[in-house]
Structure formats: structure tokens, C-alpha cells
């Protein structure tokens, strides 16, 4: 680096170039692995055909999408999971984090480890565990019958309603602890004396939660909301391994259907690319809306 030839170059210029050299590999990889495929998917979405035999089709794929009953069902499912699961999970994570942030709480580390533990399981693994727990001859039915809550077991995964509920329960189980860790980290930046002062002024724990914790954690809440929205719109593993999209596509997600369209049935890359672009647009719109809403409360 400090070869005499380079001495001509000013120090700041040399540092500037070093900086570029450091970040170039990462930047090139992101361009080639994210932005280039994104553009290619957009081009693909206006074509139709099988394999290498592609023809221009204009907006045909996009029109087809909205008449495709399975895809519309998948879209509805993703939104159902999003609307129910994300708020429940984030509120639960916030409550747990603020409880664990209490200085006087005993066994804090144990509680935190237990609640965070589900994040250590792989998505396929926990999907299969939940599938087995909620099977007709599974543990949940056995327990409910033994406790005389049910007369006989429910076939959870065979009814659209209960199958969706199981997916939502599984998602909450898997991701609450993950979000809780983000909140816990955020809470550590809030000085504990703020809470002490609020308590002396007569604020109830509920009030200090809404008036101190939530506003100060706003950036973290925004971050977790965007991450969860993004994740929920891309659900795949759970749909494939917990319910296999069934019963008769009642729980299928968009990514699962796109996968089937591209790699399971006769490959239709053009149509699959069009559907994937809808996910992209939805993710972008929702992120924008959330950022706008997040800014407003200031």
C-alpha cells in the first residue's frame, strides 16, 4: 500500500480509493445477485411459453393472475397471516420485552433463553413438529380430549379455518422471541431512571408502557414491522411442510404457488415471474406506508 510510487496521490484520495476497494465486492455481488435478476424477472413477466421457447405476451400474465383462483386464494392467505399474526406477535414481543426489562425480575436470563429458543429451530423442523403435534392422532388432540375440552379430536389440518389457525399459531411461536430480542436491545438504550421518575409521578405500568416504552422504541418497532411484513409475504417453508398448501390450496402462500408454477408443474417462468413481481410491489408499498406512518407519530 505504501509503495513510493503512490506517494504522489494525496492521502485522502488514497483513503477514498481504499474505501471503494473494500466495499466493491459486496456491492457487485448485490447488483449481480439482486438487481440484475430483478430486471430479468421483470422482462420475463411480459413473456409466455415453456422452457427456452418464450414469446412476448404483453400484460397477459398480469391479467391471468387476477383470474387465477388459486393465486387469489394465496394472496388472501398471505394477507390473512399478515393481518392477524404480525400484530399479535409484535404486541406480545413488546409486552414480554418490557416485562424482562424489569430490573427486579428474577430468573430473567432463564425466561429470555426459553422464549428466544424457538428461533434456533429450522423453519422446516418446526413446521414438521407443529404438523405432528396437530395431526389427527397428535399430541394436541390427545391433550384436549384428556382434559375433556373436546369429545374427540379435531382434524386440524383438514379444515381450511383450523389449518390457517395452526399456521398462525406456529408462526407466532417461532418468531415472537426473535422480535423480543430486538425490543430488549432497544430498551437497553432507554435509561431506567425515566421509568423510576414516571413511577414516582404516579404513572401506572400500563401508562409508562404506552407513554415511554412505545414512543422511544418507535424505530425498532418500525424495523420489526417491516421485517415481519416482508417475511410474511414470502412465507414458503411453513406452507410446504406444515399443510402442503392444503386442504385443496386453502392455506397455500404466494411463494409456494410460484414455486409449484416454476418447478413442480410444467415450468411457466413468465407467469411465475409476473406473480413474484406482485409480491415485490406489495412489499415495496407496505414498507413505504409503514415508514410514512412511523414518521408521522413523531
Amino acid at each position: 500500500m505504501s509503495a513510493p510510487k503512490k506517494k504522489k496521490m494525496s492521502l485522502s484520495k488514497r483513503h477514498n480509493l481504499t474505501g471503494w476497494a473494500f466495499l466493491t465486492p459486496a456491492a457487485i455481488l448485490i447488483v449481480v445477485m439482486s438487481f440484475v435478476p430483478m430486471v430479468r424477472a421483470l422482462i420475463l413477466s411480459f413473456k409466455t411459453g415453456i422452457g427456452a421457447n418464450m414469446k412476448w405476451a404483453g400484460i397477459f400474465n398480469y391479467q391471468r393472475m387476477f383470474q387465477d383462483k388459486v393465486f387469489m386464494q394465496a394472496l388472501k392467505n398471505n394477507f390473512l397471516y399478515l393481518i392477524i399474526q404480525v400484530p399479535v406477535m409484535l404486541v406480545l414481543a413488546l409486552i414480554l420485552a418490557s416485562m424482562l426489562n424489569n430490573k427486579d425480575l428474577k430468573f430473567k436470563g432463564l425466561f429470555r433463553t426459553c422464549i428466544f429458543l424457538p428461533c434456533a429451530t429450522s423453519l422446516v423442523s418446526y413446521a414438521i413438529v407443529f404438523r405432528t403435534l396437530f395431526a389427527m392422532d397428535g399430541f394436541v388432540n390427545m391433550l384436549l380430549v384428556k382434559l375433556h375440552i373436546l369429545d374427540k379430536g379435531i382434524n386440524w389440518l383438514a379444515n381450511p379455518g383450523t389449518a390457517r389457525a395452526v399456521i398462525i399459531i406456529a408462526l407466532i411461536w417461532r418468531w415472537t422471541g426473535y422480535n423480543m430480542v430486538f425490543y430488549l436491545s432497544g430498551l437497553q438504550n432507554i435509561d431506567y431512571s425515566v421509568y423510576e421518575a414516571a413511577r414516582i409521578d404516579g404513572a401506572s405500568p400500563f401508562q409508562s408502557f404506552w407513554k415511554i416504552t412505545v414512543p422511544l422504541l418507535k424505530p425498532t418497532i418500525l424495523l420489526t414491522t417491516i421485517m415481519s411484513t416482508n417475511g410474511t409475504l414470502q412465507l414458503f417453508d411453513e406452507s410446504v411442510n406444515l399443510t402442503n398448501g392444503g386442504p385443496s390450496n386453502a392455506t397455500i402462500t404466494m411463494s409456494h404457488y410460484i414455486y409449484n408454477m416454476s418447478f413442480k408443474y410444467t415450468p411457466n417462468f413468465g407467469y411465475a415471474a409476473a406473480m413474484s413481481y406482485l409480491i415485490l410491489i406489495l412489499v415495496a408499498i407496505l414498507a413505504l406506508v409503514q415508514m410514512k406512518v412511523g414518521d408521522k407519530r413523531e
Binding site: M1, G19, A26, M38, L117, T121, F236, I279, V283
Partner: protein
């Protein structure tokens, strides 16, 4: 806080903890019991683990899947940590308008769902004749906006005096990164390692797309294969799930503390 509220808090946290741990405990028990006992709801570890293991290796190529998963995940983690940490460091320490702009563009990539890039990526990989290779597995996720952002954030807290002093001592810029930044940012690296390894190990969709033969499959694919047949040997199934989960759980316990610290740095 009143006593009633305190008790409520402990009861609530205990219930949530139990619910969080139970499915994993149940899985571990089921892995050591015969399928009949699992259905009967036996909740203590049994002695059937050897039979379950024999059934598992008889039906699936467990050795290959374990080896592949470790190989793909370790290679990806090492490369990814290096590429992203040096980039994050470069973005922060030498920042100027141009680099900040590039960072903004990179952050946009975070919004790109994998489904939207999956098909062209598959076409690129397959026309480069890279299907069923480690390179195919790692290429799309070596460089991730999330990790770059995390390292950029942690480089912000890296004292400039250290850099100046090291420069005076004649250390090259790359030397400063390796000998000064790397050792100081251990907890960020630990957090990044945990996240990257877990994501790599758990990745299911991408290997399912590019790994087309039985010798290149990964652990999550193997476990998913187990439920495709009609036979439900719960003991064997849960042993497969347990083996697939163990490595990430172990890493999680080893790195838990530094993981929390690293996230704290990233959220700030």
C-alpha cells in the same frame, strides 16, 4: 408494583416459557421413543433412539445431507462475514457522498423478495452449469444488505483515534481492518455469524431449487423428504428433525450472549 401484579408477571412469563420450550422438548422425547409411544403421548425420553436412527439411515442419505449442510453453511458464513464486514467498514470509515449513495441503493435490495429473483437466479446458475454445487448455494447470499448495515453500524462506534494511531505506526488500511477492527468487534462478528449460519443451515427454498440430485441435498430437504411418504414413523421423523435442529441450537447457546450484544449494537 403490587404483589398481585408481580405474581401475574411470573405466571405469565412461566407459561410463555413453557409453551416456547414444550414443542422442542416433545420433539426430543419423540426422537427417542417408538412411533406407538409417541402417538400415546409419552412425555419422557425413551430408549428407542438406536432403532429410530437405523430406520432413518435406511431410508435417507443422512451422512451426505449432514456433510453438505455443514459444508455449504460454513463456507457461506466465512465468506459472507469477510465480504460484508469489510464493506460495512469501508462504507463507514471512508464515507463520502458517493459511498452513502451506494449504501442507500444496497439497502433497497433488502426490500427485494427472494421469490422475485429466484427464477432468473435459477436460469443464471443453470446456464453457468453450476447446479448441484456449493457455489450455487452460496452465491446469492454472500453479500446481504442486512449484514453490511450491521457492520456499518458497529464501525460507527469504532474510535477514530485507534485508526489514526495505527496509521502513524505504519499499519496499512487493510492491516488496520484485520488487526484492529476485527478483534474489537468480536460480539458483532458473533452475532453476524449466528445469523448467517442459521439462515444458511435453515435455507430450504433455494437448495430445493438448485440441488436436484440425492448426493447434494441438505438437512432441511432430507427432513422434508421424510413426510412425503405415507408412512408416518413419528420416532424416526422426530429424530431427523432433532438432528437438523441440533447444530443451530448448539451455536445459539454458545453465542447467545454475544448475539444479544451484537444486535444491541446494530439497533443503536
Amino acid at each position: 408494583m403490587s404483589k398481585g401484579k408481580k405474581i401475574f408477571q411470573y405466571v405469565f412469563l412461566t407459561i410463555v416459557s413453557l409453551i416456547s420450550v414444550f414443542p422442542m422438548y416433545w420433539m426430543a422425547c419423540a426422537a427417542t421413543n417408538a412411533s406407538v409411544d409417541v402417538i400415546r403421548g409419552k412425555l419422557v425420553p425413551g430408549t428407542y433412539i438406536v432403532e429410530n436412527f437405523k430406520a432413518l439411515i435406511a431410508s435417507q442419505n443422512l451422512g451426505a445431507a449432514l456433510f453438505n449442510s455443514f459444508k455449504y453453511s460454513i463456507v457461506l458464513t466465512l465468506l459472507s462475514l469477510f465480504v460484508c464486514s469489510i464493506a460495512g467498514y469501508g462504507f463507514e470509515i471512508y464515507h463520502d457522498k458517493g459511498k452513502d449513495f451506494v449504501m442507500t441503493v444496497i439497502l433497497l435490495a433488502m426490500m427485494v423478495p427472494f421469490a422475485a429473483t429466484m427464477i432468473p437466479l435459477f436460469q443464471m446458475i443453470s446456464s453457468a452449469k453450476l447446479l448441484n454445487t456449493t457455489v450455487a448455494f452460496i452465491l446469492p447470499t454472500i453479500s446481504t444488505p442486512f449484514l453490511i448495515m450491521m457492520f456499518r453500524q458497529s464501525a460507527r462506534s469504532f474510535p477514530h483515534e485507534i485508526i489514526e494511531a495505527a496509521r502513524l505506526d505504519g499499519l496499512s488500511e487493510f492491516g488496520i481492518f484485520c488487526r484492529m477492527f476485527f478483534p474489537t468487534m468480536r460480539s458483532t462478528y458473533a452475532a453476524a455469524m449466528t445469523i448467517t449460519f442459521m439462515n444458511a443451515w435453515n435455507n430450504y427454498l433455494w437448495p430445493k431449487v438448485i440441488m436436484t440430485n440425492n448426493d447434494t441435498l441438505t438437512m432441511p430437504m432430507l427432513v422434508a423428504n421424510l413426510i412425503e411418504g405415507y408412512v408416518t414413523d413419528y420416532g424416526m421423523l422426530m429424530l431427523g428433525v432433532l438432528i437438523c435442529t441440533l447444530p443451530t441450537v448448539v451455536i445459539f447457546f454458545i453465542l447467545q450472549k454475544s448475539f444479544a450484544e451484537g444486535i444491541t449494537g446494530a439497533v443503536k
